[in-house]
Amino acid sequence: MNSFHALKDRIAIVGVGNTPYGNFPEIDDYGLGARAFRNAVEDCGIEKDKIDGLLVCRVPQYARMGEILGLNPRWTIQMPPHGRMSGMAIIEAAAALEAGLCDYAALIYANIGRSRRVNYGGEESPGVWDPWGFTSPGAAHAMMFQRHSALYGTTTRQLAEVSVAFRHHACLNPAAVMKQPITIDDHEAARPITEPLRLLDYCLINDGAVCIIMTTKERARDLKKKPVMISGIGAREAYTTSSIGNFDLNFWYDEMRDVASQAYGMAGVGPSDVDALMCYDNFSPTVLFSLEGLGFCKQGESGSFVEGGTLKLGGKLPTNTDGGHLSNSYMQGWALNIEAVRQIRGECEARQVKNAQVVQYCGATPCSRSIIYTPG
């Protein structure tokens, strides 16, 4: 049987594209997806009709997307519109490319949640805990952070470091939705949503789309830009405790330890080799939990680890250099993955991490994933 380690440096990201991020009531998800696709095609210079693999996420219907783009692929996957899908999607596409199920895969994510007023929490279909008023992914993260504070003494001022660092990056990113710098005091003064979390702990909801084009190492050589390789992947679900959605009593620590050991083991690197981290940040506490699980610090020590601008450009571990979900764009992990690619290519201008050679994506969720990217 093949070890998944055989996938190391076999599959490349060759093209990335995105739309502007904001509020676009005049265009639908297919229109946004098509624009991101066109930008990714242009980015890698591929002849569009060579694309024979299509993965769509949060796009309503794969066949309509294919019709709009004039594609008849031989591999298709539709992923549900959950945030945790981006890492899963890239790994699935890598496996399909390695197996020869397709030669060039286009992965398209589109979100129209801002203009169509999507709300999280208080859904129509009854959840198990609704009768007690417990709803929304943010409340689950508030529940985890409260426990983390009680167990380890983590403070909201430490948590603020996450939001402040990412906003700093957004201010360096012309594409980011949020443009105003914030301070730790601003974070502390923001209105509470589900205490102990406040408005600045919550991600944005905005429209936009992202496209990633992937192929094998050999095929990547014929395209416009230097490929970015997938050097490590790691995966672990936590389904058996998932009745409380978006929640884990131990902060997905065990799952992220497992993910880290898979991804670092495959890539042959460790946390100290990571030049930049792209960390799923639907809510700021997830970033603290991810840092612990991946081994950037010990469990319980993420609060002091992030103090003093650790996550800022120029800090010990530049994280979410595009501004993340908190301040760049709510592209549910997809924008973080293209930011990883752009960092390795050296295309990030004011927010560029010098000589970024190892860039890691991670998401601590009920489907935890990590991907380690290196130059091809």
Partner: protein
């Protein structure tokens, strides 16, 4: 004529969950227990997640547990909760194992300590529905 106020969300009562809500109406807290392997869990499941048996019952538990975490809602995701703001939701680890999300009653936020012993109380909503909630034990 009075304007109808939208009711609070009610539990989905089906063949799997009915026993829990019948027991709650009778002032009993229960978790689903497998008669084949003894595994107990909440919420209910059509088969035992450990051994896949369908031979399961709603077994009464002590109603005692530990407070594992809590939050305070300042936003009403349903209009029907607006008058309750800010309200407290707690996470309880039952002495028998399973976790329950519920409300903590009769306590101010500054009096709450994670790890505190808690016990169930029953709040009758109407003739059909009684909600198990928790209070901190003295």
């Amino acid at each position: 004529m009075q304007t109808a106020i939208a009711a609070k969300p009610r539990p989905k009562i089906d063949n799997v969950s009915r026993g829990f809500w019948d027991n709650a109406r009778a002032g009993k807290l229960s978790i689903q227990a497998c008669r084949a392997c003894g595994h107990s869990h909440f919420p209910g499941s059509p088969v035992c997640p450990k051994c896949l048996s369908e031979d399961q019952v709603w077994a009464e538990v002590s109603g005692k547990g530990k407070l594992l975490s809590w939050v305070r809602f300042h936003r009403a995701y349903w209009d029907s909760f607006r008058d309750d703001l800010p309200y407290i939701v707690c996470l309880v680890g039952l002495d028998e194992g399973p976790l329950l999300v519920s409300n903590l009653v009769g306590v101010e936020p500054e009096q709450i300590t994670i790890g505190a012993a808690v016990e169930v109380v029953f709040e009758k909503v109407d003739d059909e529905l009684t909600l198990p909630k928790f209070r901190i034990c003295d």
